[in-house]
Each structure stands twice: as C-alpha cells, then as structure tokens.
Subunit: 425 residues, 2 copies
Amino acid sequence: MACSASAPSSAPTAAALVLLVLASFVCSCRSAPPDALVFKGQFLSLGVLNLMFFSYTSSYRSMLRHFTSLVSGPFNFESGGSAGSLPKLHLNPYSWSKVSSVIYLDSPVGVGLSYAKDKSKAYTTGDLQTAKDSHTFLLEWFQLYPEFQTNPFYIAGESYAGIYIPTLSHEVVRGINEEVKPTINFKVVKGFSYIAACGYMVGNSICDTVFDGNALVPFPHGMGLISDDMYKETSTACHRNYWNDSSDECRTALLNVDTVIAGLNIYDILEPCYHSKNTKKNDEVATAWLNNDSVRSAIHAEPASSIGPWVLCTNALLNFDHDAGSMVIYHKNLTSQGYRALNYSGDHDMCVPYTGTEAWTASLGYGIIDSWRPWIADEEVSGYTQVYENGLTFATIKGAGHTVPEYKPQEAFAFYSRWLTGSKL
Amino acid sequence: MACSASAPSSAPTAAALVLLVLASFVCSCRSAPPDALVFKGQFLSLGVLNLMFFSYTSSYRSMLRHFTSLVSGPFNFESGGSAGSLPKLHLNPYSWSKVSSVIYLDSPVGVGLSYAKDKSKAYTTGDLQTAKDSHTFLLEWFQLYPEFQTNPFYIAGESYAGIYIPTLSHEVVRGINEEVKPTINFKVVKGFSYIAACGYMVGNSICDTVFDGNALVPFPHGMGLISDDMYKETSTACHRNYWNDSSDECRTALLNVDTVIAGLNIYDILEPCYHSKNTKKNDEVATAWLNNDSVRSAIHAEPASSIGPWVLCTNALLNFDHDAGSMVIYHKNLTSQGYRALNYSGDHDMCVPYTGTEAWTASLGYGIIDSWRPWIADEEVSGYTQVYENGLTFATIKGAGHTVPEYKPQEAFAFYSRWLTGSKL
C-alpha cells in the first residue's frame, strides 16, 4: 500500500507501520522467530522498554508503567498483589496499535532482553552504530515479513530516542537513495501536499546540547520553581548561556538553581519524587514478569539461564559514545527533503523541557503555516501546537511529564492518530 | 490567652482564632444566635462561601467543593446520588479547625445566606464599607462570646478577600489603637521576635491593578500556554505593561494572548474547563443542601420563604464599589507595624497568578531573611517559600489552583499549621 493521506483503519490490519525505537536492540540482528507475536496483521514485538538507561538520575519512578504504557503499548499492567507475583495484563484502550502496526525495538544492543554473543565488541557502540544496527534490523525484519513492506512507515520515540530517531531516519533515507533492498516505505510522494509524506516523531527528545541545556533555567523559572530574582541573577551571571558554566559567578548561580530544584521529580515536576522506599516496589513487578520463564518463552526471549536476568538499569553499555552531535542538522535535512516531523513535549517535564524543543524547532527557520493555538481532545485544551513549512509540527501536551503516552494516554492517542493521517492536531 | 509562639493544641479548644473572610456578611450585624454551633470551644459558623461572586468568569467549576473544602472547613461533601438529594457530610481530615477555632463569615452583605432588611441602602457598598461592617460584626461577636477574646486572632482569606483582609486588618488595628471595646487580640508583642505577632494570610489574592495585571502575560508564557514568540511580541508591543492597553499594537497582541488561552480553566490551568453541560451538576447539590429547610434551621439561617433561596452567584451587589485602591500600602503599613503576613499562591492559578503576588511582595522592599527554598510536606517538595523581614512570608503551593486548600488540602493544612505557630514552612 502506498504512503497515502487516507486514515489508517482502526482494525488490526492497520495501514501505517510505526517503529518506536526506545530501548534495546536484539543483537546481531537475530531475526524475529517465525512464530513471533503476529496477530491478524499486527506484529507485537514486546521488546523491553529500558528508556531509563540513558536518563541522568537514579529516579526509577514507575518503571512498571514505563514498561507498558510508556509508548502506548497494547497492554497495561495491574499488579499481581503480592511481592514477586506476576502482574495481570489488560488491553490498553489508548494503544497506538489500534491505528497502526507497531514494532517496539530494544535498542541499542545490550539493554532490555537483547544480548550479543561477542559482548566485548558489540557493547562498545554509540549513536551512529546504533542507527546502522537498527537499519540492518529493519531490512531483515521486512525481508522476514514482506506483507508489511508496502505499508507507509513512520519512526517514533522519546527522550534519548531523540538521537535514535533522526539518525535512524537518516540511515533509512540513505538506504532508499542507494536502492538497498527491501525498500522501506519511508518516503515522500513528490507533488503531493506534506500529508502524503511519511516521517518521524520525537517526544521530549534530546536534540542539541545548547538548546536543551539553555532550557534548564527558563523552564523552572516559568514554572515557579526558582524565584524571579534567582532567574535574573542567573541570567546575568551566565549571560543566558546555561549549558556551559563559563565563569565562577555562573557556576555559583547554577549551583543555587540546582540546589533549589534538587528534590523534584524531574520527569514531572508535579509528581511525587519516588524515594528509595518506593523504588523497589515499582521495579519488583516488571522484574518478576520479565524474568518469568513462561513469559520469556512466550515473547521469544532467551531464558535468564542463558543470557542473564532482566534488570531495571543495565550497565552493559558503559562504552556507549554519544558521537552523533547535534540533531538540528538531521532535522533540517530530513524535513527539507519532505519528511514530516512532529516534535511533541509533555510541558511539565524538566528532563528535556518543552522550552528547548520549542526553541530548536523554531531555529530551523521555516515559515509558520498554522500559528500557535490550542489543540483539543475530548472538548478540552490538551496543549498547544504550531505548524511550520515542510510538514514540521511542534506540539505541547498540557500537564504531561517526560513520557507523554504514560501521563496522558487519551491525549497522546488523539494527537498520534491525527498526525499519522495528516489531519490537523 | 496571650498571642504566643506556642503551638496551638490540636484539641478542639484550639488557642488561635482565625477569621476567614470569604463571602457574605450577615447584614446589620445580627448577632450569632445563642445556640450557634459552638462545640467545646470551637465556633463553627457555617456561613455560605460564595467566593465566586467576585470572580471574573462564568466558570462555576466545582462550587460544591468550594463550599466545603475551599477554606479547609470541617466537612467534605459526598454527593447524595440522585439530582436534588442532600449530600452526605464527612469530617475533613485536613480541616483548619483542627488547629484553630475558625469563623467563616459571609461578606459583604447580600451574598450567601446573608441579607439586609433595607436592601437599597445596605447593598450599595464597597471595599471600605465592607471592612467597617466586618469590624462591627467582629466586635459584636466577641462581645457575645467573651471566652474567645483572649485567643490570639488571625485574619485570612483568598481571591477577592485579598482586598477584604488588609482593609479589615487596618480597621481592627485602628480599633485597637483607639481602644474600642472589646479589644480584639490582633496584636504585636513588642520586643519579641516576629513569631509572637498575630497577623493575616492572603491566598491567590487580588492586590494591585498593576502587579496583578502585569502578571497575566508572563504567567501563561512560563507555563507554556503562549509561545515564546508571542510573549516577545507582546512584551515589545506593550512595553511590558499589560494592565492598560496603551496602543493598538498592544491591544492586538493582548487579544491574541486572550484568544489562545480562552479555552482554559483559569482557576487551574491543568484542570478541565467545566462546560455548560457540567455546571448544573456542580451547582445542584450545594443548592439542594442550602435550600433545605432543616439545614437552614440547623445553621440558623433564615428560611428561604423569608429571605429567598440560596443561589450560586447573586447579583444583589451590582452596586459594589472597589474603592480601596491598591493593597500594597496596606500590606506595607501592617507588616511594618509588626503584623505577620503570609502571601501564598497556588502556582497553577491563572486568575491571580503567583507571579504578581511574588512581585508585589518583593516590592515592599524588605530584606530577605530566609532565601527562596522548597518547603516540604509528607517528604515531598510542596512549593517554594521566601521569608522577608517584618514577618512577611511568600509561599507557593506546587500544582495548586486558585483555592489552595481545595486543591491541596494536606499541604494547605501543613503550611497553615506551621505559619500559625511561627514555625518555618
């Protein structure tokens, strides 16, 4: 099926195929087993989401929820009750799989339930190698499941996947241009409006040291977490450059800011900060589930006896190199070629604040074709959006934290469905 | 009992007496009936809270909750189920009456269940007359209940009570200085630290046209409701003066801002905006309760047959004149005389944003004696606070809307209890 503007069916034979790169990549491009979870046209690779691997704090809040609803996956967990018991699975009414077939990919290699036989080599990796690995995986996957090849193909992810998505998109485009087979249907339909183009989505995504770093003082100021005086002092001391502490005055001012915001949950400033007393609880159910022999067998993961247990935060990738640099140039290249992009932000996230994403999106220099306005879901203002030339959309989700589909599943489903079909948010 | 720094008992014989002026005033200073709700030293005057009278929109969201928990009153409502049925009352675990005796006063005359025999005269009133009326009420009340006269006395309120509180405080101080009897124990203990002083609290309170008006653009900008570009354009067009639209450019820019934020719930930008479909529901239970003959008899209100039914928003006071001007000078006078003040703000309120309160508090020009820092309740950052000389405290409540005890009852109880005893927030 060609990449078209028609609404994908909500039936399981959804037209769009979306790849959400969020965590670990099954190493050496092992193909999915022939009896993988393919239900009536839907491929559900229950890859382990290990988003926290790239996070900068030790706050493990609600990883259980991350595991399931983080990317609006098909299931929600209900705790099994007692410690170590298996959780019950419920269908997620706002699963993105209702309007698209979704691959959840463990990436880079070494996280989640992925592994490599030659760890010493495979686990020394970085942004660019991860993009190449993911591209290789995709090519093999489409070879294995040719019935999906003609579906329009999108790429999406959150947080550090802000690096994975543009770099993988770049690899996919390069592959298409070099006529690598099978051809991935990540394409621009020339002569059509932008809604005919496939593309990518990044949510609360890391992009650029300067833009993201400079957002970290205006954001807490705007949210009332630092005082107006503290903001002015810090601005003056740092000359509005907060990402590199260039002077003693600036360092001192930034230290004051850090001290004042230290007790907050950076993934949602309004949520409680889960202290050590709660960490275990959130970790426990996911750990029990993913280390259960029957579960691992059902999702075609190797048994714990073979590759070791699933752990919340792996340190397998201590040699991961952030070698791709700023994503701004990737975004510019992709959007100027006609690939649609949606940069969305939960506006209460302090890990990758919307202020930085808003700034770097505007920095691409495109004209505005749909000015800043509220977007509505269920009759309520659910956030704000602005659409630029070249199919570039910025959107906030009001009241959402770092992982939007986790905090606002209904709203996330709404903007996802609309964007996928080329409708206005 | 003298106004002291000792913690008030949590027993019903609480030491502190707090007057919350929030709505309507029983006219002509009718004394409370001899069998008013006085329980073991607690006087619970269940005056009707009609805070919305002075609000600027027609959004009546959850007036039922306003009615009970708005000022951390002793009861919470549970809907009775069917339309028009009486709600069930539950004890509010975070009622401020647990650490203080509280008078809830319907003010000004004409709102709530209050009334005047000579409406034409009494209902033409304003800020200054309301303060005098409330003072008269207080003097008569203390005469009627002399056992409360020696309790340290505080005054508190929210929203438009930001006018009532300083003006009434001014009247009370004037009365004390003129040796009006009975003497209200709203006093400064000379030679002691500020914690020995009585004082007043205002929450998300109106204060000053310029400060409050100028907060209305930076606030939505900081909260991600208007874009960075829109903020810069408006700042430039209005020269950072948003309270009086001095030029066509400024008016246009402000109109754009208004359009963009129009669909929001101004009392809590993260809450749904209750549309007409829901208004009736929230109104219904309070209306049923307050127009029930037995309820009115129990709280010593005149029957509906005599003074008419209770209505959500009265238009009895169309001749109310905001004649007190800016409250900044009142705050300066009171605090410089040694009366303690707590200016607190739910930081997600867009009706009277914290940004304005933060600014006018700082404008009093006092030195900082406890710098901006988080304050903690139940092991979590519950907001931020900064303490100035002369017993002046500014505090935010993180994630709270316009009526803090309604949105964050536990946190409100914590800061209230602490402030009352002179403890650090």
